[in-house]
Structure formats: C-alpha cells, structure tokens
Amino acid sequence: MSIQSRGTKGFAFLFAVALIFGFSSWAGAAQINIGALNDMTGATSDVGKDYALGIAEAFHYINDTGGINGKQIKLYQFDYGYRIPEALTKYKLFKRLKCVAIQGWGTGDTEALAPTVAKDQIPYVSASYSGHLTNPEKTPYNLFISADYSTQSRGLITAWYDNKWPKKADYGKRKPRIAMCYMFASPFSSASIKAAKDQAEMLGFEIGDDQDVSLFAIDTKSQILALKEFKPDVVLHTNTVMSVAATLRDAYSLGLGADHIIKNWGFDENLPKLAGEAAEGAMGCAPWAFFGEDVPMMDKVVEYAKKYNPGVPLEKRTIHTVQAWANVLGMAEALKRADAAGDLSGPSILKNGFETMRDFTIGLGVAPITFTSEDHRALSIARVYEYTQGEFKLLDTVDLQKRWPEKYAKEWIGW
C-alpha cells in the first residue's frame, strides 16, 4: 500500500468519524451545553492558553459541586487561533450543539459576532472587556465579569494622576504628559484608546502621538525613540504581555524615564519574568486577584489547576486563570437563576440571570458585580496594582461611578 493511499484512507476514516459524531445532536436530558472559544495558538495565545485552562477547570468545579441545580454542564471548547473566519464557523457549531451560552475570547471576533449573537439571543460572555460591548441597547447579549477596558484605562490614568504625579519634580509647573502604545490594527488593543484620551484630556494631560506596537513586537526601539522626543511622564500600554514586556525593556534600556500603566492583559505574573528590572514600578489594572493570592475561592482555583492540569506547574499559572474562573462563576450563577425561574433560554439567562445580579459577590478578589437591563458594565471599579520589590501590591482603587456619577451613568457607557 502506498503512502498516499494509506494517508487517504486515514483521512477518510477521520472524516467519517467526524461526520458520524460531529453532525449528530448532542443535547442530553439533564445536560446544559456551553461553548467556549479560546485562543491557544494564535496572536493572543501568550495569555490565552492559561485562560483556556481556567475555563475548563472552572466548569469541572461547577459540575463537581452540583452543576446547575443538578444539571451537568457539557463544555465544548475550541481553539480558533485568533482566526476570525474560524471563530464564525465555531459559533455556528455551538448553535448546532444547542449551546445555551458561550464563553468567548477576543475583541475582534466578539465585536464581529455581536450582531449575530443579539439576533440569536445567545448570552456571550467574553474575555474581551471592550467598552463597546457594555451598552445593552447595541449589544444586549454581550457580557463579562470584569471592569471594561475603558473603565480600566480611565482608572489607571486617574490612579497615576492621584498617586504618582504629585510626587514628580515638575508637579504644579506644567501639564503631565501621557502617550499610548498599542497595536493600531487590533480592535482589542485600540478598544479603550478613545476613552483613555478623553480621561487624559479631562484631567488636563498633554497627549503625545500614539505609538504602533504590534502584539508580536520583540523590538520597540523606534517607538521608544519617538517617545523620547515627547518626554512622557507616563505611558499607557494596552497590548498583551509579550509586547508590553518588550516595550518596557526597550524603554528601560533607552532611558525613557516614564512610568508605565498597563491594561489587564499586559499585566500578569509573566511581566516581571519577561521584562526583568524594567517591570519595577509598573502599574496595571487587575479586576481580579493574582493566581494564588489569599482571597475567597482561590483555594478552589489552585486545587483544580493541580487536579486537571498537573503537567502545568503552579508557578507558571497566572491571573488569566482567575479571570476565566470569574467569567465561568458569573455565567454559572446566571444559569442557576434562569434555571430556577424554569427557563434556560438565552433571553431568560439574560433577564432572569445576569440582569438580576445586584452587588453579587463571586470571590476571587472581584468587586461586587451588578448588571441591569440598561447597563452591562459589571464593575465601575478599577483596582490598580503596582509591581514593586518582586510583588504585586494594590496601589489604589478608583471607583468611576462614585467619582464621576453623572458622566459614568450618561456619557461613558458603550465606548
């Protein structure tokens, strides 16, 4: 038998198995199907893999602790490699599998899918925390258990302005200067830039030219040299951790002399490992506790990490696992409430589930979450940490709703 014919037969076998199993209906009697779309091999896999592990572990925990009022969850988890065409196809597969809700991932595909999700009325809990997804009038079925990127960026700028700027030599003599580093082409990276600039203008910053830093960047010297002409006091980073670390390293070696404030996906346990000394003093937003921190529910996170992925050492696990748990626990609570109301349809999960949560606490260091039918911003609080002397220390907590109630309620939703 030739190699080709063996290969053909092997492929035919695999395809036949796929046809037999894949194209059949999966809905079981006491089973709730959930889809999960993750990036474990694509552009955002540096943070996506840990998140994906967390999703699977958290659903194991839900099932081990009684499921959804006795019903077990069947999780269909896929890696789509951050390829948006593949994300669309997988979404259709979730519909076929009768998934009642979906755990999604990136901003690009989540925003692209938002109109479809709204039409199909399937709650879509994403790891994209884009502010564009928080207005129920536009994206009624998009949700997440986190401070959105815009809230994070506003909180970071405010925390730096409150805590760091007064200590600078030029304080009171001139306006503080801010610049922003992100991948222009990425909806994820650029999602909160408009809000960040709005906040900076409101606080009286001078804003420098944006710097285009790829999510894959390993050398950002040209961007740092461009920044040096502007002499920023602080730089906002909205990329994922690898490119943020590269930027911090170059800023350090070229003596930029600015502080760094970083959106959640660029601020994790890997940052000091990748950036070394350059990470000292970096500030970042973390709506959840770091992996292993002493907060409620963290013991379960660690236990399930050990139990289901023993091959991944605990010291390599990150805050992204905790993020995944937060999204899963929030979704599970919504499912329980909808199930108790006797209806596990998409609209019921939204109305009887998520939108009934008022100051609901899931643990994991997450502030109490609230969803209403008018506002899908779960948190108005940005928890800002500082990495100093080898530790992540909570620096400040900025509650935008308390500080700017009018603007938060009326102006800042949805962008």
Binding site: G7, L14, G22, T41, A185, S186, S190, K194, N309
Partner: protein, 368 residues
C-alpha cells in the same frame, strides 16, 4: 493536466469541441448533478454550521483564485494577496457606509452590488501598482515586493488612515439591512452561501475562459519562460501587469463578498498570514489548476473542522483532554507538515489525483 481524456472511440472533430466546457454527455450529467448538489442539496441539508463551513471554503476559493492566477498561471509569486482582499472589503464597506447613494439605488438593492464592482476595480488597480516591480525583479525579490503590499496597504494605509474615517476607530460595523442584493437582504448564512456560490462560479468561469484565450496562453508562456515569451513577441511586462490586475480584481470581489458574512471589518481580519495561507491552498490543491484551487480550499477548511470534531469526542476522557491541549500545537505543525508532504509526495497537488481518478473512469475498462 487540464486535458480530459475522452472515452475510447470518441474524437474531437472541431476546435469548438476541443475547447468545449462539457465535452461528453457523461461530463454534462456530472456537472448538472454537481450544480444540483450545490444549489439544492446543500441548502436543503446543511444547517448554519454546514453553510458556514461552505462559506469559509468559498471565501478561500475566491481569495486563492487570484493567487492561483499569479503563481500558477503567470509565474509571479505573491505573498501579499490579503492586502487586495482588504482593499476590496474596505472599498465596499466605505461605499455602503459613506457614499451618498440615490434613494432609488438603495431601494433596488444595487448599492452593494455596485460597491462590489468598484471594490474589484480599485483592488485591481492597487494590485497593478504592486505588480510594477515585476518588470525588473522576479522570484524571491518579487516575493518581497508583494509582501510590501501587505505592510503598506493594511498595516499602514488602512490601519492608520482608512480605519479612522467617520471616527469609528478600528472596526467598521455594517448595520443590519445595509448588505442588500436586489430585493434580498443578505442576513443569513443561506443567503451568503448563494451569493458565494454565484460569485465563485462566475469568477471561475471568467478565469477559465480567460485562460483559454490569447491572454491566458501569454500568461502561461511567461510562466514557462519569460525570455522565450518575449522573443515570441509577447509584451511580457504588459501581460504581467494584466495578471496582477485580474488577480487584484478577483481579490477585491472576495473581500467585498466577505463583509456580507462578517457585518464588521477591521485590519485584523486581513493578516499577512492569510496571504501565506492562500499560497498553501494552491500548493496543496495543485499549482496551475483551477480545480486545485477549489480542492485546496476544501482541504484546508474541512480538514481542520473534521479533526477538531474528532478530537471533541474524546475531550471528556482523562487522556482526551490532554490530547486536546497537545493537539492544538500539533495542529499548527501538522499544516506545515502537510504542505511539506505534498511537495515531496504529490507536487502536483490534489488536482493531479483528481485528474488521474477522472481519467481512470473515463477510459474504463481500458484505463491502463
């Protein structure tokens, strides 16, 4: 390779017969059956997921046709084709969102079809611009100049300037109802499927006809030996630019079609890796074969889906979840391996196998 061997005892007597699309009754029957499957069978049997896979295949076919023309028929290696898809997608989107259409055209559902045509022409002209270096360079050097198309078009012009039009930032969103062809609002997978099917068939027919003409023969002559082609009196540079125009034109249509499936676009949807992917499609399908473009597209899309569905069955087992995690990385490597394997064991791609199988049955029982 594209020659069809006729059954024993059948001979062509005219040039028209020799160049006919469907040369025998059996082939005509086969094609009618194929059209029946495409236009009736799949829409009836496939659900949204199945249609979504078909639409992905169609998008890949539309994208890869231009690459096939450039590499497979004209010998101009390109690694920047995603840029022309992006030009098409953005031109069409901007026209729909920003152009002051007369109400009558909107009512008749002509805005989107017209935008597709304009997108195709703009992408074609843009492609010609990046084909200009082909007058002086070829091979690896041409690869680099076509790669520049990606960086200049997507990473610079579209990202920095075009995306900012209308203050939308990075993602253009097309409101429901704006993608309309005649009386049909393209708002479901089925409608996207039919549109994909019509566009694919139309473009394949146009391209095949073009390849059978003097233009096509000139392209093939340039591919085989550009110096000989020049000696024969072929305007090598002119025909190369024409190839770039047609490839860009088709790419523009592909991009403009794709927005009907997405309803939103951003520069992120047209990464450089997609250009590489399209080259992989024609390498696996068969370089210099329109069949190969279709087979390669089916292979690249369906195999990934099939493998994931297979793996999905075992995720609940203790070894299965581990397999799932490991498989992710194997999957990426597997694609590289598949391309290598095709280069080594079947350099003519799947299309060659199809040709062998077809002729086996055409010549049966004397297919030795």
């Amino acid at each position: 390779m594209s020659t069809t061997w006729l059954p024993c005892g059948k001979y062509h007597e005219t040039y028209a017969q020799d160049h006919a699309w469907w040369q025998t009754t059996f082939i005509r029957g086969k094609m009618i059956a194929l059209f029946a499957v495409l236009f009736v069978g799949i829409p009836l049997l496939a659900d949204d997921y199945g249609l979504s896979i078909c639409n992905n295949v169609g998008y890949t076919v539309l994208g890869a046709l231009g690459v096939q023309l450039l590499i497979g028929y004209c010998g101009q290696i390109t690694l920047g084709h995603a840029a022309f898809l992006a030009v098409g997608a953005y031109t069409s989107t901007l026209m729909i969102l920003e152009f002051p259409w007369p109400q009558a055209l909107l009512d008749w559902g002509l805005a989107y079809p017209i935008s597709i045509l304009v997108a195709a022409v703009v992408a074609g002209i843009w492609s010609v611009f990046f084909g200009l270096p082909s007058a002086k360079v070829k091979g690896f050097y041409l690869i680099l100049t076509t790669m520049a198309a990606q960086f200049i078009t997507v990473d610079f012009i579209i990202t920095q300037y075009v995306s900012q039009i209308g203050g939308r930032g990075q993602a253009f969103s097309l409101p429901v109802g704006t993608i309309k062809v005649g009386p049909w609002v393209i708002d479901s997978d089925l409608k996207v499927y039919f549109m994909m099917l019509v566009l694919s068939i139309l473009l394949i027919a146009v391209l095949v006809n073009l390849l059978r003409s003097r233009v096509g023969r000139a392209w093939v002559a340039i591919r085989d030996n550009d110096i000989s082609a020049s000696v024969m009196g072929i305007n090598v540079f002119g025909y190369k630019l024409l190839a770039f125009f047609v490839a860009g034109f088709i790419g523009g249509i592909a991009g403009a079609f794709w927005i009907s499936n997405l309803a939103a676009i951003s520069p992120e949807h047209f990464p450089w890796s997609w250009s590489l992917w399209l080259v992989g499609v024609i390498l696996i399908g068969g370089v210099g074969s329109i069949h190969g473009t279709v087979f390669g597209s089916i292979f690249m899309v369906v195999v990934i889906e099939a493998l994931q569905l297979v793996i999905m069955q075992f995720v609940d087992t203790s070894w299965g979840s581990r397999l799932f995690m490991d498989f992710l990385f194997v999957k990426e490597a597997a694609f590289g391996l598949v391309i290598c394997a095709f280069m080594i064991f079947e350099p003519n791609g799947i299309a060659y196998r199809w040709w062998q199988a077809k002729n086996y049955f055409n010549l049966w029982p004397f297919s030795y």
